[in-house]
Point group: D2
Chain length 418, copies 4
């Protein structure tokens, strides 16, 4: 791993450290202490676990190796280790919601303790180039957990019949934009992140691919289009579904995206702003890969693969539609904008790029060991920090998962009539 | 149901209302807001759920029928209904731990709202005799939930590797008393609660039973005796166990009572005072019926039935060893004392007494519908309010359950040599 | 255990051995080899397992202790041990249906091998009194497995959409008899089996009970009455059910007895004669304790306890309505007949009688270790050998179980108006 | 789909029909009727189900559309439909082992009925070109089920402590060959099956890929090598495993390949010849993708992707090591032989080739709907018919599956030192 885009002086990284760590705490301002505790399914972690784990990361990979550091609480080494077997044992993941202690107040004290040590290390110039790289990784890691914190909180709140509101707003229905197609590919394309600058190891090594000509929709699928799919009986029609998808639909009783619910005939959607009417012009969100694939089949198209997506996205830049906007619910992006609002499912398996090598040591567990049975999503969503995303960024989830902000962008082979 | 032992004037009951309601809140003083939220297994309810549900009881069965009462929050009717189908729908029991809202603060406000309405009803003399009986039932109900709150909190804390402490103490090991036997029975004995005075419907109707002569141990089984049972290989010896018990031992991997754990060869026990060394002279606690029965088999004795227990206990009175002592962990009772410290498993199925009739209406669901597959425990424990217990009191749990404070008292047929 | 009613000479028992062993094989005549293999739920055993296990019983408890016996196959000691821990390991119960080998032919050879050795032992006069008692127990044991074989086969066939027929018949609908009540009790009654003559240990020791006056229906509940219960919405009305019963109804989606199915509005019942229309005048069968109890509640009555049942039945004798009739499906018994056709649920827990002692050694596992969480059924059914039953006979099942031929006989306290 | 390699006249296909159908029945010769019934896990089907289902295929897709055909039994349409939603309902897959009827004899009669109709249709020249293609597909389909039948039978037998033998043999340990590496790639390679000749739709369309230089082991991994991996503690070392793999190892308690078992220190393997000692020189078999990947990591190499495998295999032809040899257990193939003995895991997700279109109608369900979460295996195994396999053939299983005859061939990037 090399330093960030502009050569990262320790000073710049120190400032960024303060900024990113501050965002995590700002996101928690609307929460009551009780909101930090609950784990509503095994995939979800309590908010206070996220706040502690990201601090554990700096403690474990920066402060302890540096020496002269006194751990806030030795028990935290196991308690807030997520999945790093090389570090040691981990507290059982599905039991994270059993821990009433440490309290939220204690975890904020833990954060302050780590922040204090980090700031002193920065000030004393004790962080060498290799360590600064780990700090930079730690900040991207914390940004990932900022998104997870919002995803998880939404899931927790959604299970409460009182429909708690994270942040209130007055919803304004969107206009429904026409669907257009853009032509890309028929080219040899540079894929992945170059060796210079920050990127996760799963984006490397960069390499060329031949990408045949294809067309990509100029906007994601809308709620209105998805409603047509529902009303056409899609959730009762096995012909549209992958075999695993159809089993899942039946086992789970799915009949709409996660967080949708039909009351007296009208569809509503649970959001971080509380329960709202479905906005037909907004992008559909919280669909599984199975649903995205079935929708594409129903519509007569297909999902893009991740190389097609990256080919199309290389021309643009992240704009609106990120966590920084403070909206936390997807709106329709600008026509032709590939970044933000909803993650877009691709039909690419999350596998290593040719010549991939995970990092050495515990940090090698960051990405590589998850490279089976998951699918790649691209582009970032309304709960992703804007400066966390890039064209080569690979997110990944299992095909049945829905609590991430995942949506659909259609593709087709070039030449096919729409 | 008739009024309490001394004729319960409304004034006396109003005073008792304040006392019992106050105890529930006093018990919560050591808790952090986070401690009120978690449900560590489906049998457990979060502390804030208990606090709300007992208030819901007064709201549903006293205040709403009285008229002129404005509900604190209409959603609570479903949210805090435990199992009264006649009242209406209930929020899913195993999901009680998903509710971060209402917050603890809001639930204390709910309690204040109900208390205020109850006090005004008392003051205005609006409660007739039948309603006063329901109030009295509601107070006994709240006392049951005080015990449950402590049982549940202990279970929640026990799942935390940090071993949280509810209330600190300095443990003082007990002397190990010799085991003696007392002779009872060979008589026609009055069983159950007479029609006058407060009792639960499951203690009625009172009736006579012939109880043959039997001998009952003059104290419960100790931890030290139970350790011998463990060290004799009891948890690996199917010959000692009921068939269901042996399956349970194997499925759950039991090798000691709940909350016991062996670290570096030494046995410790998680208590509401934190983790402590096993005290060989204290009564064994948190054993299932299966373990109690296997222990009795191993020891060459048997468990008493509930009529034997009641026969023996009729001569005494509840003394020490209750919640009121503020100890919350069992100590050895006085020789020949049958009440307090640990509930004592009997080998009696929890079935209706001859001529049993449940109350009419929703309150008929209080006890009668649980009369299958459970076993009776008698006598109260160190987490039971002293004035809640009596010789005819029937507690009941499934044979595999261990989180109640259940212990063992041995019995044998008369004439058998010890 | 003492010998059978008339002092069992070895010769009489030898004849009975041939008879009982022969019945087991006669029952299998309608089966194809494939029918012997399948285990349709963990409670069910394949027919060939039953045939082998009952032979294992004689091999293990008679022939091996006798000496000079060569086992048919040493592997059978584990394979066909049901639950005797004192004998040794047991092949996993829910996996009995995995065994394609030994084949049916081999198991019949195993039976012949055991029979041959038994007959030689009888002929040589090698069986002493204590061993003859075990032989007698083994024959009652085999009779229990004859009933199980039919119960299990019915369950296996019922899961096949082809509705296989064990034995064909032309059903003739019954007349629906009026319901009458008989008065019993108000007496001190001898309960249980006397020390002389064959009985299972769970029927002993015999003892007196005071049985208050009660009334017992003079016939079991009919299908027609049960249909009224269904059509009155009973399976949707929690007020009628024990709490565990209501959970079970919802979890399993019960809406009628086991083997009933509604096709185009008409109810049919799967029987050992294939699928038949419901006969309104026949006794309802294959109901759980929960359903029996809910039916009694709905009807305004209750179930008898086992002492009431035995009080009433002591006056009569087993007549028609047993396996020997070759009908294998319940018909309406004679008015006032308590034996045969359907087992009758009582509300008595299956617990030991006062002073109960299980047999010493492995045979002590026969009954005693099952004395928790089950309920007693009485009287025998159309799949029970007639000479296997008696007034003191205690059958037992868990309250959710339905594949035994269990029906309902109503009781009420004396004096209650019908 | 076009006709088979040499232009398939109806006559040639009729002969091949007889041959393939005959092989299915020959494979069943060693079976007892009981062996045809059991389903030892949901993935397994009973042998008689396989025999019926492949006949159902011809009945459903050839004979019924042809007209003038009388179904053997109309109930079979549902009973033996595997997963074709477009045809209609299917009998529940995990319940296939509940069906004792139709008997084996009836299913052979069903086969004869279908064969008779097929032969008459051939003889009468009633099969047009499109139908002949379906017949050809049906024969390849039956060959797939021949392999499944052997896989499933092995699994069923393996669950029996008697270690049944499908076919006896005297095992002769192999010599352990040295491992060599062959260089391939650095080329533009034709991948997939051309439009002419029989192939499954998942092998199409054929297309070119750039395949960088790589090296491929000249033989599969041996049992001896795999034993070193085990003895090095691999099943206890999370660092070697994909995250899902490590969870699976722990959940299932894996410590060796499926069918291996350690008795008194020595490893044995259950085979279709009964239980045998592990042969260190034979290819390791019945490993999951997780184990194959972990082994490659431990060895310092990787698995090939499917394009690399196909690149290497294009130069060769299927030789020995197939079902036709009658061995049914893998031996070491010739050096550099890529076909036969064990299927080889690749690290390629089973996804559609660019431009893939499933067949129209029900037969479109044959392959396409399984294209998620599975991985590709290549080359065929000792239970695969030789004329069923080709270089472009794509087999696919979920990463945790082990009951297929799956082994490991190592790859490495070119230039890496061995």
């Amino acid at each position: 791993m090399a330093s960030i885009v502009a050569p990262a002086t320790a000073a710049a990284l120190a400032a960024r450290y303060d900024q990113v760590r501050g965002v995590s705490e700002t996101l928690c301002e609307p929460l009551e202490p009780e909101d930090f505790v609950v784990q509503s399914m095994p995939d979800v972690s309590p908010a206070k676990w996220h706040l502690a784990h990201v601090s554990w990361f700096f403690e474990t990979f920066v402060l302890k190796p540096l020496g002269g550091y006194t751990a806030f609480d030795p028990a935290f080494e196991v308690l807030f280790n997520s999945y790093y077997n090389a570090v040691g044992e981990q507290f059982s993941r599905p039991d994270r919601g059993l821990l009433t202690r440490p309290t939220v107040r204690e975890i904020f004290a833990y954060r302050a303790h780590v922040d204090d040590a980090m700031r002193r290390a920065f000030a004393a110039g004790r962080l060498d180039a290799a360590t600064l790289e780990i700090v930079e990784l730690g900040l991207h890691h914390e940004q990932q957990h900022q998104e997870l914190l919002l995803m998880d909180l939404k899931h927790v709140f959604s299970r409460n019949p009182l429909d708690p509101i994270y942040r209130p707003r007055s919803p304004a229905p969107s206009a429904v934009p026409a669907l257009g197609w853009q032509r890309f590919g028929d080219a040899r394309v540079a894929i992945g992140a170059p060796a210079e600058g920050f990127a996760f190891d799963n984006e490397r090594p960069d390499h060329d691919r031949e990408v045949p000509a294809f067309r990509l929709a100029d906007r994601p699928v809308t709620n209105g289009e998805y409603l047509e799919f529902i009303e056409d009986g899609a959730y009762r029609n096995p012909a549209l579904w992958l075999s695993d998808g159809w089993s899942t639909v039946q086992d789970k009783g799915w009949r709409a995206p996660l967080y949708w619910s039909q009351r007296d005939g009208a569809w509503t959607e649970f959001t971080l702003h509380g329960r709202e009417a479905i906005d037909p012009g907004a992008p559909v969100c919280h669909v599984s890969y199975y649903e995205a694939d079935a929708f594409a089949t129903w519509a007569g198209y297909r999902l893009p693969d991740e190389f097609e997506w990256e080919t199309a996205a290389r021309s643009g830049q992240p704009g609106d539609g990120f966590m920084d906007d403070g909206v936390f619910h997807p709106a329709m992006p600008e026509r032709g904008q590939h970044f933000g609002q909803v993650w877009e499912w691709t039909r690419s398996a999350y596998h290593p790029y040719p010549g991939y090598r995970p990092a050495v040591g515990a940090l090698g567990e960051y990405n590589g060991k998850f490279m089976v049975s998951q699918l790649v999503l691209r582009g970032g969503a309304c709960v992703t920090p804007r400066d966390h995303i890039r064209a080569s960024y690979r997110n990944f989830f299992y095909p049945h998962m829905r609590w991430q902000f995942g949506g659909i962008r259609l593709a087709r082979d070039d030449g096919k009539e729409a």
